[in-house]
């Protein structure tokens, strides 16, 4: 038990004589949602738009070339097969580049492909060939029909593409939002929360966002290295003082970087303003970015309102206090309750050595009763503490190669007084393979099995401990001749606080086997219960995984 303490994640040092030193202050900031990447500044920002047309051409040039290439490919294919393919199928083949271009790159390349296809069909295939002139009226109608269908198709395909893109984007947003709201739920302090929100805004806006406190002396969120220039801070204070609803873009003179400062939902955050670093650029460009950022910010603010940030902040404070309280309680209980018990148990052991007591059967049995009851109490306190620690922090085993014989031996010794009234029969194989486990945890688990066997079987009966080796696991079993198990017991055994109704007379918390199964599971093993039914005794086994150990190096290292 003692052994498992640190492993369960608690630090004893914190509880030196009740002087609790919180390590929560040192707790690292909660997991970042997405790290802010300053390199994104230029790249993913909305491009500076000198003229719409230039942008439009720049954005579509490559896809248009690609769609023309597709038409070219179709033409070559058709020229090769022109002798076998009927004329009325030609238009159909030219639909392919249209559909491809429209689904891949949108409406413009789709239309380009449509017209290029029509032109190519006319020039290369409709008689007279290699001329744009068309002889037959029917062919003219065909071609016009093709063009119509192609235009409609590329429009439809492009819409489909837009819809798919939008749903992907929404999915990403929802995933981010989900991660963010989960992050909020785990926040322990409002400081954690501020960081979470900052991260969220930075990710969503794609610019570094810093929340500024409404009180100027509180440097709050940006205290650690993400400093905001003093001038920006002052501007934010001014904005907050004036309670101006608008955003202000301020150029920081020293670095010549632009910042957007805006009051953001003080009613939910308690933090007055947000400063967003927009970076360098012409005033026109900054203006455009600022507009975009404001739009995203408005949306993000609504999201924050929906996520009940205020409640989350309060919850964070409660979580924090609860955690401190639980740690203090566990540490305090451990020290304050177990130290007096250690005195009682130690004193009993001294009394038992005194000649006056040793030779007086009555006194001796009283001393033993005190000892046993105190030991029982100590065990129960340790069980409760172990359960509390498992619930709070989980189990973190420290694996080490161990001889199962030693595990059994240690557990039998620990429980020797509990087992004193029973006949313990030990049948272990001599060459049980080593197991790679946390021996202290497995010992405790096995001790619980022994404790249970002693508790639920009549005094004087046999408790048999045996081992069995399978190719990939070792099984250590404890068989008693006690009340046995019903099918229901078997199923619910190892559940937290489960106690069979039939054993109401025997004291216990129902934690023992739950702790045992948790410890064993943490070591990659499992518990198994067997019983012929009520009244026929029970066998509870602990299985641990093995690995082969008979390597030649091993034999070299041992022999000699």
């Amino acid at each position: 038990m003692n052994a498992s303490r640190a492993r369960l994640g608690f630090r004893t040092e914190r509880f030196r004589k009740g002087k609790y030193v919180s390590t929560f202050q040192k707790r690292s900031r909660l997991g970042r949602l997405t790290a802010y990447n300053p390199k994104n500044d230029a790249g993913s920002a909305p491009a500076p738009q000198k003229s719409r047309w230039v942008n439009f051409v720049a954005a579509n040039a490559a896809p248009v070339v690609a769609s023309l290439a597709l038409v070219w490919l179709a033409t070559i294919g058709l020229l090769v097969l022109s002798n076998v393919i009927a004329l009325n199928l030609i238009a159909l083949v030219y639909m392919l580049p249209v559909v491809l271009a429209a689904t891949q790159w949108g409406i413009v390349p789709g239309l380009v492909a449509a017209f290029a296809g029509a032109a190519a069909a006319d020039f290369f295939f409709y008689p007279p060939r290699y001329s744009f002139w068309i002889e037959s009226r029917q062919d003219v109608i065909d071609l016009l029909l093709y063009l119509l269908v192609a235009i409609v198709t590329s429009d439809l395909a492009a819409r489909l593409k837009q819809a798919v893109d939008a749903s992907r984007r929404r999915e990403r947003e929802i995933t981010e939002l989900h991660a963010f709201s989960q992050g909020l739920a785990t926040c322990l302090t409002s400081r954690d929360l501020i960081f979470a929100i900052q991260d969220y805004l930075s990710t969503t806006l794609k610019y570094r966002a810093v929340l500024l406190a409404s009180a100027p002396q509180d440097h709050g969120a940006d205290a650690d290295g993400t400093a905001v220039p003093e001038q920006i801070r002052q501007a934010a204070v001014k904005l907050m003082a004036a309670n101006a609803p608008h955003a202000a873009t301020i150029i920081e003179p020293r670095t010549n970087r632009a910042w957007l400062v805006r009051i953001i939902a003080p009613e939910i955050l308690g933090y007055g303003a947000i400063a967003i670093e927009l970076g360098h650029g012409s005033s026109e460009r900054i203006g455009l970015i600022a507009k975009h950022v404001e739009a995203v910010l408005a949306e993000a603010t609504v999201t924050l309102k929906h996520l009940k940030v205020k409640e989350a902040i309060e919850q964070a404070a409660i979580n924090y206090r609860t955690e401190i309280l639980r740690d203090a309680l566990v540490g305090g209980v451990s020290h304050e309750l177990r130290t007096p018990l250690a005195s009682i148990l130690g004193s009993c052991s001294v009394l038992n050595h005194r000649p006056a007591i040793r030779h007086d059967d009555e006194s001796r049995s009283l001393v033993e009763a005190i000892h046993d009851q105190a030991a029982q109490l100590d065990n129960q306190i340790r069980d409760v503490l172990a359960a509390a620690r498992i619930s709070a922090k989980g189990v973190h085993p420290q694996l080490m190669w161990t001889d199962p014989t030693d595990i059994v031996d240690a557990a039998v010794k620990q429980k020797s007084r509990r087992l004193a009234g029973h006949q313990v029969v030990l049948e272990l194989q001599r060459d049980i393979p080593l197991v790679h486990v946390d021996s202290a945890l497995v010992e405790q688990a096995f001790g619980q099995l022994l404790e249970n066997a002693a508790k639920y079987s009549p005094t004087g009966t046999e408790i048999k401990i045996s081992s069995r080796c399978q190719h990939d696991y070792v099984e250590l079993s404890v068989a008693d001749q006690g009340s046995g198990l019903t099918a229901d017991d078997k199923e619910r055994l190892g559940k937290r606080c489960y106690r069979s109704d039939r054993n109401a007379a025997v004291s216990g918390s129902g934690l023992g086997l739950w702790i045992a199964s948790t410890f064993v599971a943490a070591n990659g093993g499992s518990l198994h219960a067997e019983s012929q039914g009520p009244g026929f005794g029970a066998t509870i086994s602990l299985r641990l995984p093995t690995a082969s150990e008979d390597t030649p190096e091993l034999m070299d290292a041992i022999n000699d």
Binding site: M1, N2, A3, R5, A6, R7, T12, R16, K17, S334, H335, T339, P340, A342, S343, L345, G346, S347, C348, S349, V350, N352, H353, R354, V367, E368, H371, A375, D378, N379, W401, T402, D403, T405, D406, I407, V408, D409, A410, K413, Q414, K415, S416, R417, R418, L419, L426, L428, R430, L434, S439, A440, E443, Q444, E549, L554, A557, I558, N559, D560
Partner: protein, 243 residues
């Protein structure tokens, strides 16, 4: 008379330790904090120190280090909660052994006596270590069990020798691995197998070891007390409650 210094801030613990040690013929000195303990260790020259780790004024490990800086006195450490790594660290810092609360007086006495005996042995140069039916002559390297000579391989003997020189006290896995394999790669897996082989030669029933006992996650000790007798089932011992 052997003088034992108890450094523990819990009055009740000191009281029962005084009673227990006095019953077995020791003179007991008490200190209720680290500073008083360090003073007493220097001025009163005890033969054995029982040191609680949880002291109000100074970390027990620091007290241990300070005493070790000038003295080789036997020190047994007490703690209410200690994981294996902490135990190994204390042993490395120079504690002769540790006892985890709650414990019975006989366990602490056994540890204390083992530590004292080790001190005496290095002074007297008594070459033979006896543990129940087993005797190990550290000079002639002869090992006998109930008077019959036992043949051990070199590594088995090195292991037993290391344990015998610290008879009754725990030796960490790392200490043993270093003794046996030296600079060459040895590991805990090899050690476990070697211990098993040694047990097969010296234990009556290797599945119920009485001589070479494992200390979970820490190391091994050659037990002097219970060896040769059945486990004291009706005696109040530390075994019932310590872990």
């Amino acid at each position: 008379m052997t003088k034992v210094l108890v450094i523990d801030d819990e009055t009740q613990i000191r009281r029962f330790l005084r009673a227990g040690f006095e019953l077995h013929g020791y003179t007991v000195l008490e200190a209720e904090n680290a500073m008083a303990g360090l003073r007493a260790a220097t001025i009163d020259r005890p033969d054995l120190i029982i040191l609680d780790l949880n002291l109000p004024d100074l970390d027990g490990a620091s007290v241990l280090e300070r005493i070790r800086s000038w003295s080789n006195l036997p020190i047994i450490v007490l703690s209410i909660e200690a994981d294996e790594q902490e135990k190994v660290r204390l042993l490395k810092l120079g504690a002769d052994d540790y006892v985890v609360k709650p414990f019975g007086i006989s366990e602490l006495l056994a540890r204390g006596e083992a530590a004292l005996r080790r001190q005496l042995r290095s002074a007297d140069r008594d070459p033979v270590v006896r543990a129940g039916p087993l005797s190990v002559d550290l000079v002639s390297r002869v090992v006998t069990l109930d008077g019959n000579r036992v043949q051990l391989t070199r590594k088995e003997y090195t292991l037993l020798h290391a344990l015998a020189t610290h008879a009754g006290l725990v030796m960490t896995h790392q200490q043993l691995i270093r003794e046996i394999w030296g600079g060459r790669a040895g590991n805990i897996q090899y050690l476990r197998i070697l211990v098993r082989k040694l047990r097969q030669k010296v234990e009556i029933d290797p599945t119920r070891p009485l001589l070479i006992l494992s200390e979970s996650g820490v190391g091994y000790r050659l037990d002097l007390g219970s060896a040769g007798s059945l486990r004291g089932q009706n005696e109040i011992t530390s075994d019932t409650v310590c872990s």
